[in-house]
Symmetry: C2
Subunit: 220 residues, 2 copies
Amino acid sequence: MKKSTSTQDYLKHIYELSEGGEPASTNDLARVLKVKPASVTGMVQKLANEKPALVEYQKHQGATLTPVGKKAALEVLRHHRLLETWLVQTLGYSWAEVHEEAEKLEHVISEDFERRIAAALGNPTRDPHGELIPTPDLKMPQDDSASLSSLRSGQSATILRVNEDPNLLRHLDELGLIPGIRLMVTGYSPLDNNLTIKVEKKSFVLGLNITTKIFVEVEK
Amino acid sequence: MKKSTSTQDYLKHIYELSEGGEPASTNDLARVLKVKPASVTGMVQKLANEKPALVEYQKHQGATLTPVGKKAALEVLRHHRLLETWLVQTLGYSWAEVHEEAEKLEHVISEDFERRIAAALGNPTRDPHGELIPTPDLKMPQDDSASLSSLRSGQSATILRVNEDPNLLRHLDELGLIPGIRLMVTGYSPLDNNLTIKVEKKSFVLGLNITTKIFVEVEK
DNA sequence: GTCAAAATTTAGGTAAGACTAAATTATTTT
DNA sequence: AAAATAATTTAGTCTTACCTAAATTTTGAC
Ligand SMILES: [Mn+2]
Ligand SMILES: [Mn+2]
Ligand SMILES: [Mn+2]
Ligand SMILES: [Mn+2]
């Protein structure tokens, strides 16, 4: 029942690509997995014919996960996000550096290792990017964050998560807008949806392009 | 140039089996690698035909490492031993539990990861079992330890390493005879080569079967 | 609704690295 | 020195997961 590295990566990426409701297309999977579309077709057909089936697949309609496949995907995702958190906390990796390392380690660590790092980290619920970490019984917790773009003047909030786009990440890192930081909205421009936000003593004006990609917990 | 997990394990075990001077035999490799002898023949032939060659191989004569193969073997061994040290130090693994975990991780960590854990541990020279860790430039350090069996009454020493035999390990663990412990020889029996040793306030009499498998640094 | 472009699938191959069964070579025993 | 036993190698398969090239299906522009 132990799944290959390849299978685990397929399941993880099918999970991520189909989170929005749409099945993951052959082409999109090929892109994120860095293999040819023809290879993806072969692999999803195989995963759909396993017993029990890991994916639901109809020709030309893309792939979604069965409950069994989803468990397996969340297992890998839990490993990945715990590992990223742990590499950052204990080995001084930067936010940006951890991904590749976790991408390889996620497939080889034992359940014991998983429990040990989770415990050592105090059973965190989010990774360094702010992504939710699946629970030990492999459920994805409900995301209670709100988009920064939905806030208005006077509201305060703490950053939980930012989109993983590397360019955005670097930009926000320079501004100090990273998970854990507290901010306050001091202005809103209805015409262009710009928000003025204040962090510590500094203020920035941010466009919709940015504010929709920052997720926060609003103070009541 | 990046070597497969399989190749890395072959090289590591050829290194270990041929440390005594004799080439590693097909059968012995099959045993430690948990693979059939026929598979070993195929693989060592392949490794001998790589350019540059990783092993020296003559039909029926077993395999030894070329300088290139030896570097690669020491690389894996360094990873393995650093990982074991680190898992014990930072995640509370016991002495006995680490091996399997390190066996898988050794093949996937980056050089950056290696440097980070080495630095975090203070660049250790021995792993938790007391085995020497290859240096960053992949040389095996000179082993300056002496067998406990060579000591005589009045000499004091610190345990550096014990043989990895699981039964012996458990026994010595109960007696508190583990790397780092200081002991003194208080008696020697020429007829059976038994040694009486004192650790803290306790004394034990140990036979040659045990004393030849404990390695120490003698105090001058 | 037709038709070209884009996406997807099929068919046929390759490379690693394992296995089994049979053949060969080496080592012991007598 | 021959026979028996043990170790090793060869030959032929299998599985996994990739690839390319060609065929097909779907979609979007007119
Ligand atoms: Mn991965
Ligand atoms: Mn797990
Ligand atoms: Mn290994
Ligand atoms: Mn290394």
